[in-house]
Amino acid sequence: MSKYYQPEIETMPYEEMRKLQDERLVAQVKHVWDNVPYYRKKMEEKGVTPDDIKGVDDLHKLPFVTKDDLRECYPYGLLAAPLKDCVRIHSTSGTTGKRVVAFYTQKDIDLWEDCCARAITAVGGTDEDVCQIAYGYGLFTGGSGMHGGSHKAGCLTLPMSSGNTDRQLQFMVDLGATIICCTPSYAAYLAESIEEQGIRDQIKLKAGIFGAEAWSESMRKDIENKLGIKAYDIYGLTEISGPGVSFECEEQTGMHVNEDHFIPEIIDPETHEVLPLGEKGELVFTSISKEAFPLLRYRTKDICVLSREKCSCGRTLIKMAKPMGRSDDMLIIRGVNVFPSQIEEVLIEVGGGDITPNYLIKIDRINNTDTFDLDVEMSEEMFSDDVKSIAKVENAIKDKLRSILGLGVNVHLVNPKTITRSEGKAKRIIDNRNI
């Protein structure tokens, strides 16, 4: 078996890929112009017609699509193919009540499953493997996407769906699962249960593909150590297709985007300007092959970096970093973009425990300068009977944040349980600036 599922695409020289993208984009723009009145209106408002789009270089001329558009168009407003050609829907919960419904033709399902098969093949999945799908099945895309991908990659597929940990472990042992697909938090839970039941030596897992949730590098290391596997990241969203929009290869340094179907861009979330490769900003996707629900320039709100550096796996597909946070959560302090997730990574590393110490970011503006304070709840792991050791912890937090953000922060260690928690999730930011 090849190490690639579709080598001709996955290792295609960039110039060829660009040509393919140009052709598909031109056709896609025409397709939505002809079939989706909502799109036509949006384009007309921006003064763009399909004639203006001759290739990827013209992509920036197109209007953006946001979650608000999806809400407004619920359920059929963005449908670009006749309903009789659609064979399935998937759905995801919207932020304010109404769900997003995405439609798929058989061709859309096929190309999506191809993307998932690329991801499974990239972690070593072949017809010798047993792939346990422990994502939820149903409206959620996780289960069925990876399920179809596993079929295409030739694995024996265990359609477990999520939950029922005892049954998961029984099948994992009895049927010798070698690859597991689930959320990272469920993987961590499975790892703990395996440890508790003392069945680690009966587990044949070699790889895991974990997505649909934010997770950190330290969590990756923890899962890898506990399960004795390689843990790979996968990225996707229902609006674009589902899991497999991008996937990690053996290098584990970012995810290859299936750019023959989905063109990524990075934009400045404030000015909407397209940013050059390597710069951090909001990730935007354009679906260039899908028939039923092809979103153009969909703003994901994920903050991310793209890179076209050569990858040792041989794939030429562009890579995206693990999203660093949501543009909704982004703070701008002294002109620097700051995400709570960056602070969490540092606190987990310094705290040495499994859980993030509770924290509170406090920002104010004094004499036209932003002040940046961070309260961190003291934990048993960070505490010591001598001042020097505690000062070391304090300085480690400061130094690491300074090197990651390039910002000085005042760290205050506070008594445990003194930072208010609301519904389990603490209110992490107090921004007192009046801008």
Binding site: M378, E380, F383, D385, I390, L413, P416
Partner: protein, 144 residues
């Protein structure tokens, strides 16, 4: 002799030290020695108490971060030169003292000191044969 010290984290805010004292009082835990090391933001309370395990449980229960560390209690003569004499076995062997504080003593002519060093076991062995090492445990872990 080796003694178990309870140390606890406190923010520099009014009433924090009181909360700790209250918790110990409610649990009937007697304090023989106490010192406070503080910085601008926080402090560390170090205590020798009659029942360290019970104290730690009670403090944790009340939401205080605390721990037990091994420290040394030494007896010194309550007279000029007594302090230097008591520490001689440690200074002669190059053992550095991280911090120290005084403890209540009921024996006439003697003072008790609590010491923190990197290797308490080694320090204890060095002191064992000296006068400084002669400490009556009931003096430290006093039960009422």
């Amino acid at each position: 002799m080796l003694v178990k010290q309870v140390s606890a984290f406190i923010e520099n805010k009014a009433g924090r030290l009181n909360e700790i004292a209250d918790t110990l009082a409610k649990n009937n835990i007697d304090i023989s020695a106490l010192s406070l090391a503080d910085t601008t933001d926080y402090g560390i309370v170090r205590m020798i108490v009659c029942d360290p395990e019970k104290a730690v449980l009670a403090l944790r229960e009340s939401g205080v971060v605390c721990k037990i560390t091994e420290t040394l209690a030494i007896a010194i003569d309550d007279a000029p030169g007594g302090f230097a004499k008591g520490l001689k076995a440690l200074t002669d062997n190059g053992i550095e003292i991280k911090y120290m504080y005084a403890c209540i003593s009921h024996e006439k002519g003697k003072a008790l000191m609590i010491l923190s060093v990197d290797d308490p076991q080694k320090a204890d062995a060095l002191l064992a044969s000296t006068d400084a090492g002669k400490v009556n445990p009931s003096e430290i872990y006093r039960h009422i």
